[in-house]
Structure formats: structure tokens, C-alpha cells
Symmetry: none
Subunit: 402 residues, 4 copies
């Protein structure tokens, strides 16, 4: 089997997706998600201009060899653009391997280790009541876990507060939205949100919260302590994690479980977090960590240190990535909890897929490979629309993590 063609399809069925399609001489094709929200075309160029020529004529079954050739052969390693490109190739090759062997990818990863992949939904609201209403909506849909975010009094807009429906999308066309930030106001709000949540939603639902990298370690430590009475499943992205040892201080002060990883691109972005047991859930993304090949390494390292997995799974990655997360989550022993935002009907139409949601769980389905296809005609009807994620600034105008 040889790769005879490959291309990147960029489309925008509600939001932008870049998809790598790898085609073999046997007529099979594999798909990989190459989406990097707000920087899609750079990944597309990395693939089209620099990687695809290297794939032609190669044996797609030699995933390990190709992965290391793309990784080490580029000389310049890591980072979101490079690893998203390599990740797209890796996912497409696993998809192809599954199809070549007529089996779902999860069977190649050791088979199902559970009935399905428990997910959580995003319950957002401009205030506490609205957030709890959103949470009830998820509970009605069968979710067992919800992430709660709500507006911060005094701030116009805040990360995680959407526009009122299931299809929240933070990126927007035109120039980046400007958000504002006050740590003091935020730290006062969050415990109130969770006190109300436990009061009104009870204790059966699992609750999560995403700090989105906006605190320092001591601030995150304070927040974690202030939430201990509410039994969170995790506090996410408490601190920007480029400096992994920055989590030591948070860890020292609170038993609130910690999750991080959606911006990581290499195992060395999290090996200290894991080996020092500074976190409880590692949330790397198949598409951004470089595919299933390195994702398994991260999961195996995490398993040794009592850290569970939970892939980043928002709608700014395509159904191809979500399917990969579902196959992975079904198969690895130390699966924890999967993020699941619903794609728009337009997106689902462009990416017909075998995975399904029921009873609070995703299941990847048993179609060969990843079980997702790309309707290129449908995709062509949704051309790329440049969009940016918001920029966040403190009240004094300082650029802050969004």
C-alpha cells in the first residue's frame, strides 16, 4: 500500500476546520484533523507546502517511522503549528490502518476498556442563574457532568460565557473581540457559583470549572481551597503551564483536583506535571499533541502516576479529532472524562460520523478506522472565513491570558 495523493480541505460549516485527506493506491483514504483555531492556514501551508510532498509514495502502515521522520526530520520540533500538522498525518494514518484491517481504531489500541466515554458539557451563563439553567439543560440531555462558567460582575465579557445555545464558539470573524479581566472580581464570583450549584443542582452531578490560564499560582491555590466544599471533579487550566513547576504551589495548598493540557504539543510539556503528580487529569488533544502515537505515550506516562486522561474536545476541532478522542478514551485504561461540545448540524453534515452520544456517553462506533468521513461537496459550500479568538486585557489595559 502506498500513499498516492494527499490534500488539505479547509472549510467553515459554522466555524473553520482544516482536514488532511491521505489517499492510497488501493483507493482508501484516511482523514486527519489539522485545525488550529485562528491559525488554520499556517497548518494548511505546513502540510501542503512542506509535508505532503514527503508523504507521496510512502507506506502508510509505517506510522511510527513516518511520525519520527516528520518530527525529527523537520529539525525544528514542537509547537502548535508543527504538531497539529504531524497530528493530522498521524490520525489519517491510523484511520487508514483501521480501514486496511477493516476494524475500528479502538480495536487497534487494545479494544474497548469500558462501555463508553463519559462526557461533560459546557454550561455557560451571563450570571449564576443562567449558568445553572444551562446546566439543567445538559442534565436533561443525559449528561452526568457539566462545566460551569458564568459572567463576572463588572466585566463586559468573560471566557466561557456564550451566546445562549449549545453551539458556543469563541472565535469570531473580523478583528479579535476584546475581553476584560479582573482577578479580584473573578475570585469572588466562582465560589458563589458553585455554592449555588450544589444548592440547586445537588450532589449527583459532577461539576467542573475552567480557569483558562488566568491566575497566578497563589491565586489558583486560593481558588482551589475556596472550592473544596463543593467537590469539583476538576479545576482546569488553573495557571499558564509553560512553567510546569508553577503548579507546585497550587498543588501544595488544595485538594481540588487539577486538569490541564489543551495547549500542550509534546510530552515534555507535561512530563513534570505528571511525574511530580501535580495534576489529576491530562487533557491533551489528539490533533494538537501530534496524533494518537504520542497521545498513547502521554496516557501511559499518566497511568503510572495516577493521572487520568480527558481529551480537550471543543467545537474548534473537527469531528475527526472528536472521533479520535472517543476511540482513545474507549481503549486506554486511565480514561477520566471527555469534553463534548456539540458541533452544528452544518458541521455534522460535512463530517458524517459513526460516533454517537447516549446516556451521557460518547461511543466511537465500530466503523473501520476512525469512522468519520468528509463530504467534500458539502465542505466546498462553506469556504474559509478568517476569524480570531478573543484578546483579554486587565482593566488597566495589560494583555492577559484569555
Amino acid at each position: 500500500m502506498k500513499i498516492v495523493d494527499a490534500k488539505v480541505v479547509v472549510c467553515s460549516p459554522g466555524r473553520n476546520f482544516a482536514t488532511l485527506k491521505v489517499i492510497t493506491d488501493e483507493g482508501a483514504h484516511g482523514l486527519g484533523d489539522a485545525t488550529l483555531n485562528g491559525r488554520e492556514l499556517a497548518v494548511a501551508s505546513y502540510l501542503t507546502d512542506h509535508v505532503i510532498p514527503l508523504l507521496l509514495g510512502r507506506d502508510p502502515s509505517r506510522i511510527e517511522d513516518l511520525w519520527h521522520e516528520l518530527h525529527k526530520g523537520a529539525y525544528w520540533r514542537g509547537g502548535p503549528v508543527t504538531m497539529s500538522a504531524i497530528g493530522a498525518v498521524d490520525l489519517a494514518l491510523w484511520d487508514l490502518k483501521g480501514k486496511a484491517l477493516d476494524t475500528p481504531v479502538h480495536n487497534l489500541l487494545g479494544g474497548a476498556a469500558r462501555r463508553g466515554v463519559t462526557v461533560y458539557g459546557h454550561a455557560n451563563g451571563t450570571d449564576v442563574d443562567a449558568a445553572l439553567d444551562a446546566a439543567r439543560g445538559y442534565l436533561d440531555l443525559g449528561y452526568e457532568a457539566v462545566r460551569l462558567q458564568c459572567g463576572v460582575p463588572g466585566l463586559d465579557r468573560t471566557y466561557g460565557v456564550g451566546r445562549g445555545d449549545l453551539y458556543y464558539e469563541p472565535a469570531q470573524e473580523g478583528m479579535p473581540l476584546q475581553e476584560t479581566w479582573s482577578t479580584d472580581a473573578y475570585l469572588r464570583m466562582v465560589p458563589e457559583l458553585f455554592a449555588a450549584a450544589r444548592d440547586q443542582l445537588g450532589w449527583e452531578v459532577r461539576l467542573l470549572h475552567d480557569v483558562h490560564h488566568r491566575l497566578t499560582p497563589i491565586e489558583a491555590a486560593r481558588l482551589g481551597k475556596s472550592l473544596e466544599d463543593y467537590g469539583l471533579t476538576w479545576l482546569e487550566d488553573a495557571v499558564p503551564a509553560e512553567l510546569q513547576e508553577g503548579f507546585r504551589l497550587v498543588r501544595q495548598h488544595t485538594t481540588t483536583p487539577l486538569a490541564v493540557g489543551e495547549v500542550f504539543n509534546r510530552i515534555t510539556d507535561c512530563h513534570t506535571l505528571i511525574t511530580e503528580q501535580l495534576i489529576d487529569y491530562i487533557r491533551v488533544t489528539p490533533a494538537h499533541i501530534g496524533g494518537l502515537t504520542p497521545l498513547l505515550r502521554v496516557a501511559h506516562l499518566a497511568e503510572l502516576y495516577h493521572v487520568r486522561t480527558g481529551c480537550h474536545g471543543p467545537t474548534d476541532l473537527s469531528p475527526v479529532n472528536l472521533a479520535a478522542s472517543a476511540h482513545f478514551g474507549l481503549a486506554v485504561h486511565n480514561f477520566g472524562l471527555q469534553e463534548y461540545m456539540r458541533h452544528t448540524p452544518e458541521t455534522d453534515a460535512v463530517f458524517p460520523h459513526a460516533y454517537t452520544f447516549a446516556d451521557g456517553m460518547l461511543h466511537p462506533g465500530d466503523a473501520p478506522g476512525l469512522g468519520v468521513d468528509l463530504d467534500e461537496d458539502a465542505a466546498a459550500a462553506h469556504p474559509y472565513r478568517p476569524a480570531y479568538l478573543p484578546v483579554n486585557r486587565k482593566l488597566d489595559g495589560t494583555v492577559h491570558s484569555w
Copy 2:
């Protein structure tokens, strides 16, 4: 697909092997190596009396699930007997998965990452000249690497000094052989052996040596330093490794590369050795670490820390285990060097196999699964013969590591 039958076949075509055969309702069978040299029947009992009843009716494709059920479900975890039994199941299930998907196991592990698996041979001799003669024999056979062991002046018998042919087997029938030990005599001999080796064999051949757990850390540190001029590929089992931090002292004093692992049964037997970078080659065995499932975890951990793999591969494990080592070594990125002792013709007749040796390399072949079969009729002609590994004692009579 369901498991409908399983049994353990114990035979002795030159030496004892225990083999697990798992049979499905589709008529396929998978093989796992359950051999534990000198303790074979305990593993056979573990499987026959306690594990096989749990397998009947189960879906063999769910390897991850079954592995953890056998591991955690036993309550009493780890150790050579338990993990050899679980390893036999795991190998048989990977063999079955490959056969079910009509593909060699190495393709399931990510495909070939190299042309073949470079091996080393055992060059043993009662004195330096005999050892170097044996080394030349391996070079004539195409080996690029040899492990050199030779008799220690003043000691009757020493580990690694065989009976003059390719089929060295340390276990023997009847009561255990009594060997004797003198660290002083040994530490004087080894540098002389390697000085002569470099003098007579030159520098193209890769040289290795096995201490076989018989030194303390400071003694091993001294030995490692005394061998630096001879550029060993590795010094093996320098110190008994139950206390992993025992390697720190060796590491601090010498740049001679260190290998260890043949007696390990769990990743926690080596995680400190790996994460502290105390070793350079991790030599765990597919059959004894619990199969390919945990072996991949060890390899992935090792890769992060610049540690290469090199499975233990003596003739006291069957061709089933050797095939697993070859599939694994072909597929993982951080493969180092594979031990390869030749099985006797009788053994090869009982275990027809797809792997081949050529040009200093093993290749697992492309037969579906592991590519090894069991000729039960041939096996039946070689009934079990109780045998023990030798016991080693210092000159004053103290029991010592063999």
C-alpha cells in the same frame, strides 16, 4: 469472537517451556509464552487452576480490559509467577488479534520502524582465549555485537560460561548446580578480557558484558570505570535492582552504559531507574513483564528519558517470546539491541516460526499474529524434566546472587 478453550502445554525439547494456547469459537488460536525457568509448573498452575476459567466466554479483542481484570482482579499483584501468567495471556491475545485482522503484530504496534532487529550473541569461554574464539564464531555468523563472558581464575564454575556450543543452557536436571564466587577475582579478570578483546577483535564489533547482579554499587562503579577504555555497548545487571536507587552510585562514577531489567515484572520495578536516567537500556521481557501491553508502556517511558529497549532473549524463553521481542523491537522507536541465543533444533521443531536471522538481525516475518505455532505432537515427545538454575555461593559459603 469468543474464547472457547485454553490450555497450557509444558514440554522440554532441550529445555522446559510452558506455552498457553487460547482457542476461539472461530477456530483461531493464539499462543503465549508462560515459561519461568525453574518454576514452570507454578505458572502453569496459576494459569490452569486460576486464570483459564476466567477466560472462557470472553471477547479476546478486549486485551486492555482483560489485562487489567487479571492484574487488579487477582488482588495480589506482580511478581514473576503472576506476571508470567498474565504475560502469556496478553501475548496470546495479541497473537489472536493479529490473526483476526490478518496482519503481523508489528503492524498493530505502528509498523516497522527499521529494517530489522539487531542482535547480540553470547560468546562464552572458560578463559579469555576461548571467549574470544567464541566471539569470532559469532562474527563469522554475521553478528555485529557479542556479549563476552569468561571463566574466573580460581573459581570452578561461573555464570555465563557454557559447555562450548551455541546452545548454552544454565538450568540442569536434578539438584541445582553449586557455583562459587569471588568478587576480587572477578574484578581483576574482566578488564583483562576486554583489553584482549579490543586488541584481538578490533573496534568494529560491539561488546557487552553481564555482571549478573553479583556486585555492590561501589564494586560496579569500579568495574564500569575500569572498562571505559574498551567502549562497551553496555554493562548488564551491574547490581541487584530491587533497590532501584542502588544504581545511583554506579551512574555517578562511570560513563560505561548500563543495562538492566530481565528480572523485572512491573513498570514500577524500573520507573526510578528510567526517570532518574540511571540506565541506558531497559531489558524487560515480553513474557515476564506481563506481555506486550505493559511492555509498550515501559518502552514509552524509556523513550522520554533517552533509554533504549533491548528485550531479554535467552533460550529459557520459548520462540513465542522471542517472536514478541522481534515484533516489538521492529516497531518501537527507541529500540536498542536484542539478545539472541539460538534455540536447539528440537525446540525449533516444536515451535515452527516465521522469524528469521540474517546479517546480524532478527526479523519477525510477516505472518499474521506473532508468527509462531506449536506442534503439539512434537511437544508431547518431550515431556517436562524438572531442572533448576544454579545456586551461587561466596568462597566462605554465603549465598550470593547467581
Copy 3:
């Protein structure tokens, strides 16, 4: 004195026990407990097929020499099967030595360091009230300490919740019982149990709780914190302990004392736990750690680091092991608290014994040796009945520690 015969007796007077009987040319016999719950026949095979031939003709007084020969001479060291077999030999040899010198084993260990061995009982219940009722039953029997376990609302069956009498036995015939697990539900229940216990039972009774390896470090840390107000004597097996450093996080967050060790087989399974002072009680078992010989080493290391002993002592080990625990607990300086579950009358009939319970304490008695005998005729009336410990799965089907 020479060993002239040895055999393993497997019987099931209520539950399965494997007992090693070693006989000397002087007509004395020593007994060792070789029971490994659910894997009994593998240990029996290890002894019968591989160890007993090595014992014949040997001087039973040379315990240290034989111990190291069995340990190092097997080459493959450690693990539950191997160390249970060696432990059975070691206990039998200490029993013989005591008989040869006509003195109880505790006298050989340095003599009694206290009046008796304080024990705790297992108070289990399907709900809080039932558990507290069971606790009152133990207090009525004179116990000063009870371990409290109770059912978790929403889960059908949970570890430690028996069938309503003193003779709780988790193993059952036929296929393993399937239990289910929810960490969230469990973490809500336990503080309520202990709040009720202190409220209703007062503060004179010492209270313990067994997590049975089912939490991650951060979950255990949270539990430990949530129990601080109730002054537990210990929280047992908070986290699976293969990764010893996993206890650091628990230790950092709570002053609730920690106990662990019942699944350990070697001193290197706990040396980090002890030297880093991560635990307060080391609960290894004489039979599973390899006998009294290594048990004393563990106790001595623990004493240096302010860690107390408390042998694992459930009914899935025979009266031989319980007697060894009692001799050990009477003699070592850093004794803490001994687990004591009552054997059934059938078991007591098979194993007539000198140890006695009174006033909340066990005393090993002053009979020579361990003070336990084996009535082989009675044993023969209770043939082996295969049984398994339960398998535990999370609500999503994932295999979990039981």
C-alpha cells in the same frame, strides 16, 4: 536435624487454606501458611514442584541460609506467589526451631515486649446504622478498636460489606462477583459514617477505615482531610501503592494517619514509604512478605522512622499466619495494632491453636514454636473449592481496584 519430608495440605474449612508441613528426622514438624486467596494452587505448585525437593536433607535450623537460597536461587524474585511459598517455608522453620528449643517463637524474637497484642475488628454494614451496630458488637466482645466499613448508597455491593456475621469472606465459589464503584458516592458517604460513629460510639473506641486501594492520591487527600475531625487511628490502603511516591500527595494534605502494606511482598515495596515517612503503620503479612525473617527487617526499618507495625490479619490467611503475627506483635518494640477477624469454628477445628483472645488483645500463648497444629483428618474432610475474590468496575465498566 534434617528435613526428611514436606508436603502442602490444601483444605477448605469455610474457606481455602494451603499449609506447608515440614517434617524432620527427629519426628518434629513445622507449619507454614501458604495461602494466597484465589491463587492457592499456584503457591502449592511452587512449593510442591519446585521448592520441596530443595528442602529434603537440609538442616532446618539454618533459616537465614535457606531463606536466601530460595530467594536468590530462584533467580526470579518477589511477587505474591513466590514470596508466599518462601514465607511458608520460613514460618515452618521458625515453628520447628521453637519446637526444637521447646520455646515459643516470641521468645526467640527477643521475648514479650508487652502483655498482649491489641487488635481491631471488622465492623461492616450495608448502611451506617448497621455498621455502628456491628461496631457495638465488637465493643461488647472487648475490642478497643474497630474498622468501620459500610455500603455506599447507589452501589449494589462494596468491599468490606459482608453478609451480616463475624465471618465475612469476600471470596466466593464460581466466577468472581462483580462489584461496582463510584468514587463520588464513596467520598460523600465516609465522612457521614464517621460523624455518626463519633456521635453514637463516643471517643473511647479507636476507629479505622479501609479505602482498599480505590482512590487516586488527590481523592485520598481529600478524604483524609474530611476525616480529620473524627480522629481515626488510621486510614488504610488509601491509594494503590505500587508507586510508593503516590503517597506523598496524600501525606502533604492530611494529618489522618496512614496504613498500608497487605499486598507487599518485599521490603523494597515499602522502603520509600517508610524512609520518606509517608505512612504511620506498615501492615505487611508474615506469610506474604516471605516469613518472619524479612518481616523483622521491615519492622526494624519502620522503627527507625517512627512507623509502627500492624500485620494484615484477615481470615483468608490461616491460624498459622495469625499465630506468627501474634508472636511478632508481642515481641517487636514498634508494634501498633493487629487486625483480627475470627476464623470459623470449622477452621479452628482444623488448626488447633494456642493463641487466645481476651480483653481486646491476642496472645500467642506459650506453646513451643508458633503454637498451631494441623489436624490432617479434619482438613481432609474439607476439600479445596475454587473461589475468586470479586472484580470491581466503575459504573462505566472500567476495571478498578477492588
Copy 4:
């Protein structure tokens, strides 16, 4: 002052360069080097499609603000493509600031701290004699320091061995060149090279060597020890540095000074290397670390820990980057040694520049800004030619670091 236009110019005057040109409403323009060897168009896309729209209308004097907005505002941080793009912007803004104030950039960085920036040249040869001849050529040109690389006997091609003139360029058009690798052969060669060098070139010249990430820590430790007699100024890129703690082992065994950094993109890629004093020279590149803004932070951290700077400066970065290195090297206190490969005359024609070489030193000149211009007409005559860096494989076919 406002940015009114910006564009990326890609040209290939001998090799490929990508250059960002930022134009203000006052008619000034600033230049930034956006070259990422072999992945140029991905950076160009990152800038053109995603970054340039954000620059229009912005005040170019607010470098700190724009830098953090591009870094944090992208959400996906770090890596070679992203940081090369941000680096190009940063360099262009510093160039503009210098021009706006009519002063050279080094004056903005605190002024000249020395007469000039001492450089080293690349002396390469297919064998030892050829390498030493090349070194003599550099000495004749006034260089005080040379990096020595030479062919490895038995290997066809090796990193650093060029085609015999000053203008060595490893990237080549068409598919990547395949190189081969043998650590054993390499480790034998290097000490011979440096023994000959000291013998023939004497001790006045400073000698360096680049391992180019091709060794494991223990191999690098051995090499470092074996070179101690030859007094190297530094051993470069001894080990792949994603795992920063991988340098501990090298450091422990040798006093040969260590340099690393050319593939780093963030300060967190080297903070452990610096704070643990594992290296002596930090060789990050202005263009790839994200510009002068983060480069100063790296230099300042390094100064605290006795680590000197030495920017990566090969010809696969344009004169814009080299000028930035020269301004930086002239100004920071802890400057060490600057790499200097000569660009081809065609490149110099496209990038007229103020920096000069004399007496073994570079001087950035005193032209305003960085002192480099872009002749767009000349650039247009050299259109982009796709090229790749080589891929390196071990003799068994395994992908290896190049």
C-alpha cells in the same frame, strides 16, 4: 506612528529566506527575519494570513504590548512556526524603533558593552586533514575560534560536512537527503580530530564541536570526557534537549563546556538548563526565540547563573537575524561567542547591511535600527525553491536526530 502595511517577502538568493517588512504611516519600514529552514511558507502563512491583519493600524512603538498580544492572543503558544512569526514582528518593530529614534538598536539595548562580537567559523572536512585545512583558512581570515566537524569513516554523509567552500548549506532542493549514522564510529572519530587539531593548530585557537543532538546523555558524557584534554570552548547540542534534565548526566561526568539552544523557542525550553547550571552557553536565535524582546530575558536569566550567550547564526537565517545577533552580542554583559557563517554574495546583495567583520569580530555598525535593508527587486530575481534539511537514519534504518 501607525503601521499601515506589512508583507512577507520570500526569496532564494542561494537559499530560502522569508522576510517580514512592516511599513508605517511615516514611510519608515522595519525588517524581521521569518526564515524557518525547510518550513518557510508555513511561517509566511502564519504572518500573512493571521498576524499581519492584526498589525495594521497599531502603534509600532508598543513592542511589549504587541509581543504579548501576539503570544497570548493566539491562545496556542510557542513552537518554531509561531515564534518565528512573532520573532519577525519583534525584530521589525525594534528596527523601526531604532529608525524612529535615528539610533542603532544596540544603543537601545543599553549601548556597546565591548568593541565587537567575537565569532567562530565552521571548519568542515570530509576527513581530519580537510577539516584542519578549513580551520587554517579561518585563522587566515582572522578568526580566533573555529568549530571543527569532519566526516565519519564508514558513513557516506554526516552533518556539518559540506561541499568544500565557505557557503555550506545543508538544505537541498527536491526530496530530503538521506544521511546515515553510527554512534560508535562517531565516538571514535571525534577525539582523533581534536588530538590532531591541537597538535597541528596549537592552543591559541579556540575550538568547538557540534554533536547536533545525535547522542544520548551517557554517550555525550563519554564524548565530553574523551575531549577534556583538548580544551574545547564548547561542545554543542550534545543531546536532544526537549528533556532538559537529560543534560544532568552529561554535566556530571565532564568539565567540557556545553552549549545548546538553536532549536529553542521559549525561555521555558531552557530555564532548567540554566537554573541548574547544566550548560555554559545558551545559543538561542533572535528570530526563533520570538525576537529581541524574549532574547533579553533569556540573556538576563543566564547572566544570573554564569551562563554566557552565543546566538545561533548559520546562513539559514538572513542578514536581518545576524544583525540582530550582533546588536544583542555587542550590548549584553554576558555575551560569549557568536556563530558566523558567511552568506553568499547573492544574499548580501539582496540584504545590504551595516554589520562588518574584522579581526575575528562582527560589529553591527551604527546605522539606525538593525542596519539591514531588503532590495526587493534583487529578491524578486531569486524566487522560492522548495528545499528540505536532510533526514538521518541509523544503519538499521531507524530515524535518528540529524
